[in-house]
Symmetry: C2
């Protein structure tokens, strides 16, 4: 029986035995029955087996459960369900690390572009990429296109929609995407650069494919998705079929990041988003207006770039309150295979093209080798 291992951090309540808790997880996430109700044959074939339960710091326990690959088959969502489906409804269970069964990895396929592919699309080697968010919602499609043009003309590599942009009456999806793509293409014609525009694809079901097709038709080669809104498997299909390079946004992800319950950020954003096909994964950088520590950011960076059998490395995209003036510092910290996503600190400078140009100049001046 081929198995994959899931590592848990368990926080036990009073009188709760960590070994019993691990055994309960191994049943709950597979047969969903007490062991007495399951035949020996089924038990061998699908129930997880506890390989380790050991105390770690803070009165918690590290448990490792090995699950037969046959338990989930090769589909992505049954695998995610095994990780945390029913377990989410219990307490004190944190997914600390995961192995991905080869069948799931092959079917999911991971990034279609990855770091090398996105670099090739943008025509940028040897330095980090710069990304800026187009906003705010409430502007017209024409106004948003002006923002796009200013950023692209100033030297931003990827101009992405704010994930709040959808199909609002102020800037309907089809018109907005066409105008913004045209604006970025126009800027490229002026500068000779190859900036990308990444519209937010927000629809569920068949709407997601339709939005991607519309984006392709007007010339887009990239898109922005929120995997926890549209669903991880919808992202997988989008990556496989749309031909678009995909940036993934962490909307809703914070729900999973409790210290004692949930999924470790480097697993959810680093492993699972990449597995589903994200070429770049946006996360809230330390020191901004969100709650990640530096260690969490480093762990996400490591996971996204880690060589993994059959999966292309993906770009980390730190964001959320990165100050333009601090970008050289962050380049030194995070290295060149990073996309820096900026928003407010560019808007605060009013002259968006000038702000983008100063930022691009600072990045060029940082002179990072690969």
């Amino acid at each position: 029986v081929s198995r994959f291992r899931i590592s848990y951090l368990l926080a036990c309540g009073e009188g709760e035995d960590p070994a019993a808790k691990a055994r309960a997880i191994a049943l709950e996430q597979t047969v969903e029955l007490p062991v007495a109700c399951v035949s020996a044959e089924v038990r061998r074939a699908v129930v997880g087996s506890t390989e380790a339960v050991e105390p770690v710091a803070g009165g918690r326990y590290r448990a490792v459960i090995a699950y037969p690959e046959a338990t989930v088959g090769s589909d992505l969502l049954p695998y995610v369900n095994l990780l945390f489906g029913n377990a989410s409804l219990k307490a004190g269970i944190r997914i600390a690390d995961v192995e991905v069964p080869p069948g799931v990895r092959e079917q999911a396929g991971g990034p279609r572009f990855g770091i090398a592919g996105l670099r090739a699309l943008c025509g940028v080697e040897g330095r980090p990429l710069l990304c800026a968010a187009v906003k705010p919602v409430g502007l017209s499609a024409r106004q948003l296109a002006e923002v796009c043009h200013a950023f692209a003309a100033g030297g931003i590599d990827i101009v992405k929609d704010d994930h709040g942009l959808a199909d609002q009456r102020s800037a309907p999806f089809a018109e907005r995407v066409a105008r913004c793509q045209e604006a970025v293409a126009r800027a490229n014609a002026e500068t000779g650069a190859r900036a990308l525009y990444a519209p937010h694809l927000f629809g569920g079901g068949s709407a997601l494919r339709q939005q991607a097709e519309l984006a392709r038709q007007v010339g887009c080669v990239a898109g922005l998705v929120c995997p926890l809104l549209v669903g991880l498997d919808a992202v997988r299909e989008l990556a496989a079929q749309s031909g678009l390079a995909l940036l993934a946004h962490p909307a809703l992800a914070g729900a999973y990041f409790q210290p004692d319950h949930g999924i470790a950020p480097e697993v959810l954003l680093g492993k699972l988003f990449r597995l589903a096909g994200a070429d770049g994964v946006i996360y809230p950088n330390v020191g901004g207006r969100f709650t990640f520590t530096r260690a969490v950011c480093d762990a996400i960076n490591v996971e996204l770039r880690r060589p993994a059998e059959g999966l292309r490395p993906a770009f980390p995209v730190p964001a959320g309150g990165i100050d333009a003036a601090r970008v050289p510092y962050w380049i030194e910290q995070y290295g060149p295979d990073t996309i820096f996503l900026l928003g407010a600190s560019l808007y605060a400078q009013r002259d968006l093209r000038g702000a983008a140009a100063r930022l691009a100049g600072a990045v060029a001046g940082a002179g990072v080798g690969r």
Copy 2:
């Protein structure tokens, strides 16, 4: 400007001002920019305005923010994103109650069957419905079909897949669904009842529609979905297009149920799952192996059944360790417009048909009027 109101429970860290926190949410979830970067016109048109911030028990604060409907348009996912997208990545923010903008409500559409429609499908009036889970994963399609037959022949109204069943090699989706549906139809022919079989539809993107079509082709009129796995908007499309009555499973939902951060269970499972089209919503009943209190269960029941403009009421489906012997008690507590979902306590009796028949007899004997 038409507005919808979101109520928050805010837990403030040291030195954190609740009014400032509410204002930050109103910006973060709309323009995602400091107020100084936003024109007065956009501010009026899309930024949320704080209507109340008041202290409540436990040192927390209740805040109400009114958002212009134009901020999200009429799509479901932008609305969900406004509720908790970026807010999830901060701390101490709990969505306590929500108004649904009329445009979102109309486009989402809610349950296509609802309580009355599901009753009509099953031909059952005046008593609760009984649901049993088919499991475990690892059995063959033929063995799972035998389980289906036993439950349906014993008097279960809805025989549903365990949500761990997907497309495993032990029981491939197409074969399993055909055999299980045939088994339930055969039992119906024997008993004269109209039990339903609800297969688990687990695919993302176009796979979800294909699975629903396959289920329809072999005669299914119901299905089981995990909205947080396939995506809420995919459920909406499934409800609108498949013709299947939908039971929604709370897999992953526990991530949102932190006391000080997340989405209240009655909002996520009661309002949002129903809004997306669930005709019945499964939740972990108090006293089982999960963590809900009785008050939470009551609140979910109220939300699902609440008359709401343009949305059919949906069945609460308490589950997760309901003992067969206690069902009469729970009928008294929860009333007839409830589906009781049983698993382990039936399997523990070995003779599944006998166990189902005893349960059905007890429910009939409970003699609940409507």
